[in-house]
Each structure stands twice: as structure tokens, then as C-alpha cells.
């Protein structure tokens, strides 16, 4: 009996803790997904409706309209006739999605590319001292709101306010420290001799980086890319302050469903939130192999 208890105590404890954590983390995702399928009369219902019996795609049709004309857009009603709607948020999500894709992907790509090269220099030639590397990280410790105010000043002078390039620049700068630190740890894992072997066999520096280093750190770079993409994709504060009229990103768009005239349109908001979240989850599933290898850091067999 005693042995039985001993054997099961820790696995049981672990399972309980992890289950509790999974519920805690999973519930909001479940709730937002569930709400996105609810008809409007169930949004505020009490007791709450967990899984709607009248599930509908109306919220998605509203938020992600396929046919649209200006701020008026058309959704089919139950009989299949087109019904015209007008909304403060009309037409915007697709636009926001386009902005978010452009801004998040390009700023992440630039940050990871620059970061990897910089990390290579730091790892192999110590082009930045330990102090400098730490300072780079400190850059991330400054609350974004502190820099947001002065940035608006610079940006209005530089005419970067409300532009995609303005956001790309600021996201590039803020995510560069992560890119450098993360990729450096992967490059550090590649033995120097590997490069020297390539070098003495006649490879140029670029050939060495491209043929030897990059394939070996690819998993790490992919993990870094996704990590930064998630941060940039869901960044709200800087996007809200630096750009909210022309170039609206998805998180900012999401905050717009609390219109003073419409009240809280939970269903639409939820449909948009699902639209924002799921692409990331799908990407994550596709590159799971890389993530596991990248995040466990054990990628090079010595």
C-alpha cells in the first residue's frame, strides 16, 4: 500500500497541477471560440451559455464579409436574401489583417535576419561585449509606454505616424534583442571546428554560413521567428499610439468593438479574435518539429 502511494503520489500531483493549468489557460480560448458562434441574444445571457444550441456563422460573416461595398456590406439572411448592414467596424477586419500580415511578417523577418547575423558576429568574433549584450536586453525592460510618447514626436516629424513602415521599424527595434539573444544561443552550440573544417576545405565565409551554420541552427531560427511573430502579431500599445487611423492592425481593430453606439458586440469581437489567434496556432502545429527542437536547444550532436 505504501509503495503504491509512493509510486502514484507524484504523477498524480503532477497530473492534477497540469490539468488545473490547462483548464485555466484553455478556458478563455474555449470561451472566445464558443462565443464566436453564438447568436446575439446569447452573448450576455445569464446563466451563461457554454455551447450554443443555435450555433451560427453570422458573427464571422459580419466580421469577415466576403462581399463588401464601401462601409455597407451584405450578408445573407435566413431566407438567403441579401441584407445590407452598416457598422462602425464595417470593411475593417480584412484591411487590418492585411496590415497585420505585412507589418508582423516583415518586421519579424528583418529582426530575425539582422539578429542572426549580429548573433553570429557576437558568438564568433565577440563584436559586442557581454555588457553590450546585456544592454541590448535592457532595451526590452523599458516599459513601451515610456518610449511611446517621445516616439510619436519623432514619428510625426519623420512622417512615420500612421504608416506601415513606422510600425515595422519600431517592431524591428523592439524585437531585435530577442532575436540576437535567442539565435546566439543556437550559434554558440555549433562547434567552431565545424566552420573551420568548412573553411579549410575551401568554403568562403558566406558558403560556410549558408551551408553549415544555417542548416544547423534552422530549428532555432524558426522557433525565434515564431516567438517574435507572436509578440509582434499581438502587440497592441505601440500600434494603438503610433498608428490608429489608416494603418490599423488586428489587435487595435479588436479593441474597436466597444463602440459607444453599439455597446459591446461580443460575438463579433470573438469572431475576430478567433480569426487572429488561429493562424498562429496552425503555424505552430505545422512547425511543431522545429519548435520542439528549437526550444529544447539540443540540436547539435557533438
Amino acid at each position: 500500500m505504501k509503495r503504491f502511494v509512493k509510486k502514484w503520489r507524484y504523477p498524480l500531483f503532477r497530473t492534477l497541477m497540469l490539468t488545473a493549468w490547462a483548464l485555466l489557460a484553455g478556458f478563455p480560448i474555449f470561451w472566445i471560440t464558443s462565443t464566436s458562434f453564438k447568436p446575439d441574444n446569447e452573448w450576455h445571457k445569464w446563466p451563461p451559455v457554454y455551447v450554443s444550441k443555435n450555433a451560427t456563422l453570422d458573427n464571422y460573416r459580419m466580421v469577415w464579409p466576403i462581399h463588401q461595398t464601401g462601409s455597407i456590406f451584405v450578408t445573407p439572411d435566413q431566407k438567403g436574401h441579401g441584407v445590407a448592414h452598416e457598422s462602425v467596424t464595417a470593411n475593417k477586419p480584412w484591411h487590418a489583417l492585411k496590415n497585420s500580415l505585412l507589418i508582423a511578417l516583415s518586421s519579424t523577418a528583418i529582426a530575425v535576419a539582422f539578429g542572426t547575423l549580429l548573433a553570429y558576429g557576437v558568438s564568433r568574433y565577440r563584436i559586442l561585449s557581454d555588457t553590450r549584450m546585456f544592454q541590448l536586453l535592457v532595451l526590452r525592460m523599458i516599459p513601451p509606454i515610456v518610449v511611446a510618447a517621445p516616439l510619436t514626436l519623432y514619428y510625426s516629424v519623420l512622417q512615420l505616424m500612421d504608416t506601415a513602415s513606422g510600425l515595422i521599424v519600431v517592431y524591428f527595434i523592439t524585437s531585435l534583442p530577442y532575436a540576437v539573444w535567442m539565435t546566439k544561443s543556437f550559434i554558440d552550440e555549433v562547434p567552431r571546428e565545424m566552420e573551420q573544417a568548412a573553411e579549410i576545405l575551401g568554403a568562403s565565409r558566406w558558403q560556410t554560413i549558408w551551408e553549415i551554420i544555417f542548416p544547423l541552427i534552422r530549428s532555432g531560427v524558426v522557433a525565434t521567428f515564431l516567438f517574435i511573430l507572436i509578440l509582434t502579431w499581438s502587440e497592441y500599445l505601440l500600434s494603438f499610439i503610433l498608428s490608429k487611423v489608416d494603418v490599423v492592425t488586428l489587435p487595435v481593430q479588436l479593441s474597436k468593438y466597444e463602440g459607444s453606439t453599439e455597446g459591446r458586440v461580443y460575438g463579433h469581437q470573438a469572431a475576430l479574435a478567433v480569426g487572429i489567434t488561429f493562424p498562429l496556432i496552425i503555424i505552430g502545429i505545422f512547425i511543431r518539429k522545429h519548435l520542439v527542437r528549437g526550444f529544447t536547444f539540443g540540436m547539435v550532436k557533438r
Partner: protein, 368 residues
């Protein structure tokens, strides 16, 4: 013909870590040169300077008469096998071997042929489609050799390539490298800290210590005629018995004294300076008998190796005195035996660690 020449080579790391101090050395074409010494003696640094991975702080390196100080490693026409092999883990064995010719823009057909030839030479054709991670230690070793020899370098540099293998495999690979050297007729520069590897492989051994060359010579010269206490101690297994004591000259006769031991030295040592000295003799040059001898003591440990038996005598010093006797004779721990040595096979080292040769007066330098 001299293939590699190093003149006044010096390497300082950081502010004042002098890894190599003023080294002059030339490597002849086709020879198997072994750089040997304890860790930190500068042997690997020297090799890496030849390869071009370390820039000399001072001095010049010539390869085939060409000054290579400012020439990139890839342009020196060298091949190197690294201590950790540094095979590319994401490329197959064939791709690993092909890498060098491909970088040198050899056409695909020739490349394929040369990969095959190299693989055949080290007997790894069955591994060509595998990844290095799927190869055993010895196989990976062969792959590293093939990757190097496929580029047809003028010199092979090998940096302790066998250190990660177990004893049996190490002997096997040693023979393999030896065979390769004979077959290719190329120049090999091999770094190791293992004296046995040095003895068995080398045409010429360079013994290094603290960044300087202690002695250069053939294995037998190094073994039979060491220039210093250090070299005498480093080569041979079991190593030479070295007994610290004092040398006195009494009425034309040199006499060596150490606790529990007095040895009358042959007349050829009559010129040797009196004072601190170390007496050395190889374990295999000792004879044991029930009576007599320069030293009598109790056998503390008997180590039968089959053909030979090692006898350990406790002398009260740091190291036991070791004698090698034929395995057919039986001894027991606790036996008291006499040990004698042929006076012609004695080595004498001065207080400065330098060898005092017969008929010489020694250097007369005392350690501070």
C-alpha cells in the same frame, strides 16, 4: 625537401599567455612528424598556426617555399582532421566527403569518382548514404580522414584525432593512419599527448613543453637518448625510474646518493658537476635477484601483464621504483629483492633537469 618551415614562431593569447615561444621547426616532404607534449605545451597552437586558424604574434610560416602568414586556411592546400572530427551532422557521409571538391568547383562527375575513391581507401563505401550521427566512433574517424584526403592536400594536419576512441579502436586507427601515410606518401603533422601514439607513428618526434621545443628526433633517439628529465619521464610505459638525490665527486669517482640508495657511477661521469641530480634508468634495464643490487626493497605490488611482469618497489619517494621482469618468473608481494642496473644504461640529469652526458661537465645551472 622542406615542405613547411617555421621561423621564430610565437603566439601570445590575450595580454601575456605565451602559448608558443620562438619556435623554429621544419617539416620535410613525406615525413610523419608528431608534435607531442602535455596539455598546454603549445602543440595544438602550433598546428593551428600552420593551418591558419591562429595568426602568429611573431615569426613566419612557409609552406612549399611560400610565405603563408597572410593566406587564408582554405588557400594553403592543407587538410585537417579535428579532435572532435567536426563532421557536418546534417550532411550524409558522401556529402561530407564531397564538400571540399564541391567548394573548389570540381565538376560533378570527377567529384563522384573522387568521393568513391576516397571512401574505398578508408573502407567506408557502405556508409556513404548514412549521416555522421549513425556512424560509430571508428567509422566517423574514417569519414573525417576521407573528407580530408579527397581534397588531395599537400599536408595532413591531425589534431589528436584518436583521443575520443577506446584503446582497441585507437590502435586500429593508428595502424590505419600509418597505412594511409605510406600509401599516399604525403606529409603528416600529427598532434598528440600520447607518447605511445607518437612512438609508433612518427618518423620524427617533436617534444614540446611550455611553448618551446624540448627535443626533436626519431622515436628511438627520443627514447634512448633523452635530452632532459622531462623527455625521459614523458616517454616509455612504464616510465623511466627517476630518483632525485645528490651527486658527489670523491677522489675522481662519481657517486650518486639518494635515501636508501648509493650508486657508484661509471668513470665516464667523473666530470659531472657535484650537487643536486636525478638518476634515471628504464624499468626494462633493471635486473632483480635474491641478493645484491644497488637497492634492496620489498615488492609492494606485482602486476603480471602476461609476457612481462611489473614489480613495484616502495622507495619512500613519490613514485615507486618499477622493474620489468619476464612473465615466466613468479614473485610475490612482500618478497625482499635486490635490484641491479647495468651502469652503461644509466641516465643522469642535473639540477636544472638537463641531461648530464657521459664525459660532459653538465650545464652547471641550478634551478632558482
Amino acid at each position: 625537401m622542406t615542405l613547411i618551415e617555421m621561423k621564430g614562431l610565437r603566439k601570445v593569447f590575450g595580454r601575456n599567455i605565451e602559448a608558443v615561444k620562438n619556435l623554429d621547426l621544419s617539416v620535410e616532404e613525406g615525413e610523419f612528424l608528431v608534435l607531442v607534449g602535455p596539455s598546454g605545451c603549445g602543440k595544438t597552437t602550433t598546428l593551428r598556426m600552420i593551418a591558419g586558424f591562429e595568426e602568429p604574434t611573431a615569426g613566419e610560416i612557409y609552406i612549399q617555399g611560400r610565405l603563408v602568414n597572410d593566406i587564408e586556411p582554405g588557400q594553403r592546400n592543407l587538410g585537417m582532421v579535428f579532435q572532435n572530427l567536426a563532421l557536418f551532422p546534417h550532411k550524409t557521409v558522401a556529402e561530407n566527403i564531397e564538400f571540399g571538391p564541391r567548394m573548389k568547383k570540381v565538376d560533378p562527375e570527377t567529384r563522384l569518382r573522387r568521393v568513391r575513391e576516397a571512401a574505398e581507401m578508408v573502407k567506408i563505401t557502405h556508409l556513404l548514404d548514412k549521416l555522421p550521427g549513425q556512424c560509430s566512433g571508428g567509422e566517423a574517424q574514417r569519414v573525417a580522414l576521407a573528407r580530408t584526403l579527397v581534397t588531395d592536400p599537400s599536408v595532413f594536419l591531425l589534431d589528436e584525432p584518436l583521443s575520443s576512441l577506446d584503446a582497441k579502436l585507437r590502435r586500429e586507427m593508428r595502424a590505419e593512419i600509418d597505412r594511409l601515410h605510406q600509401r599516399l606518401g604525403k606529409t603528416f603533422v600529427f598532434v598528440t599527448h600520447d607518447q605511445e601514439e607518437a612512438m609508433t607513428l612518427a618518423d620524427r618526434i617533436v617534444v614540446m613543453r611550455d611553448g618551446v621545443i624540448e627535443q626533436v628526433g626519431s622515436p628511438l633517439e627520443i627514447y634512448g637518448d633523452p635530452v632532459s628529465h622531462f623527455v625521459a619521464d614523458f616517454f616509455g610505459s612504464p616510465s623511466m625510474n627517476l630518483i632525485p638525490g645528490t651527486l658527489s665527486q670523491e677522489s675522481g669517482k662519481a657517486r650518486f646518493r639518494a635515501p636508501g640508495l648509493t650508486v657508484e657511477l661509471p668513470p665516464s661521469f667523473s666530470q659531472a658537476p657535484a650537487g643536486e641530480a636525478t638518476l634515471g634508468f628504464r624499468p626494462e634495464h633493471l635486473a632483480v635477484s635474491q641478493n645484491g643490487g644497488i637497492f634492496r626493497g620489498e615488492v609492494r605490488l606485482v602486476e603480471p601483464l602476461g609476457k612481462d611482469t611489473l614489480l613495484y618497489f616502495d622507495r619512500g619517494g613519490e613514485r615507486p621504483l618499477i622493474a620489468v621482469v619476464e612473465g615466466t618468473r613468479t614473485f610475490r608481494e612482500g618478497d625482499t629483492l635486490g635490484v641491479s642496473v647495468n651502469p652503461d644504461l644509466l641516465y643522469l640529469f642535473g639540477g636544472d633537469g638537463k641531461r648530464i652526458r657521459r664525459g660532459s661537465k653538465g650545464t652547471g645551472i641550478r634551478p632558482a
